[in-house]
Symmetry: D2
């Protein structure tokens, strides 16, 4: 199914998300992607707080966004998250940001797994987060 | 001298500081006050990083701001910081935010001293930060 | 009833609302108050977009917040909005920010009515926004 | 010269740029890129305010950032801007974000020229902005 996605996070656009142009500032799209990730992690039973308590952090190594149509304060946007390539060292995610039926933006983020000191790490084969995303992908 | 102040921090207004109204979003004034505090702490030889390494944090207990005239992207604002009442438990600061010769806002913050667990604490009589602000006030 | 309020806005705390201290940055509380105002205006049938289309803007003239207990990423906060003094030139609002049953902060904002050029204005006696808040207060 | 760049913008990292991880939130890198663009436009004699007054806007159509090493509050970062492909319909920019001698991130943005209604437009052959970036590229 072409529109399949692994999680949808619905967000209300804050007035403070906009800039002097009257539309949402591009930097804030990345904040919505983050909310979608956090919602997705909760939905798969792996809340980010649990991961960090176990010493697993998911910083971005790269991110990108292509903007299709502007978004305005007060709208509700749906951020669709799709799990991409997963490994025990990193995970790729892609996103569609929808304003109603309108595609507002597409985006991608790559996350490395690092420990609390910021050092790259590999998930163990029985790590619950790994088992969870391996199954889903 | 009516215009005396303890520190002036000059900041460039970021485009992302503005909102759909075309002017700086009111919440961002508080971010400028924070920059002024950080600049002031450096100027008096008590950088915030040094304080936190010694286990002293300065969270806000209250803050207020009165807005006089709007500020636009690209402007440079001067945040004047004035040290108010100081004690070994808290410190009061007031501010004038100037856009050129124009008064844009006046503001005030009160900060309690807390430890890394967020518990209220009193500065010791020989604490270098205390000696520094006691002299200045 | 002491706990009566005119509107409750429930918000999810964004990870990007926090700062290096691990708790929500104080400036972001003011962004939540704004969301509560926007939700309240919708709830009373006077969406902010309608007001601005009629040439009525509600900039802050002053705001303040007193912080009681920290708020963390991922929490849901309830912002309770209470309508205070209203006139045809300005409106006072107060707020309680709740994190569960815990009072996180109390706050207040005052708004002047201005036109699209930022000039102070008075609401007419039959202005629907005025009739609406007059009744409610 | 491999390190040649068209503009360097030096910025102080705001404490409010950081998140609960203690490092700068990734979304804020895009705000720094924007400051670098605004500084560059000023440096080449084409301030963004002049462009918009002439009805030329430069919204992002796409942006990306690859993160190399974290950045902390209080640091000063140097954002190096390099002009890429330019045409009368769009402009590509790339960036290096330096924290001292350390490469913190590389980034890219593409901007379309649009009018005040958001419609794509082409710069005229004698447009001062076009003459300015054509010469520089």
């Amino acid at each position: 199914m072409s529109d399949a996605c692994d999680h949808i996070e619905t967000l209300r656009v804050r007035y403070s998300d906009t800039d002097a142009q009257g539309i949402v500032h591009h930097s804030n799209y990345f904040r919505w992607l983050e909310e979608a990730r956090i919602g997705w992690l909760e939905a798969i039973g792996q809340p980010y707080g649990d991961l960090t308590r176990r010493g697993i952090y998911l910083p971005l190594t790269t991110c990108s966004c292509t903007f299709q149509s502007p978004v305005y304060a007060g709208e509700r946007v749906g951020v669709q998250l799709m799990l991409g390539t997963v490994s025990r060292a990193r995970v790729d995610l892609t996103y569609r940001i929808m304003s109603g039926a309108q595609l507002a933006a597409i985006a991608a983020t790559t996350h490395a797994y690092v420990d609390s000191a910021g050092r790259p790490m590999r998930l163990t084969r029985d790590d619950p987060f790994w088992l969870s995303i391996k199954k889903e992908s």
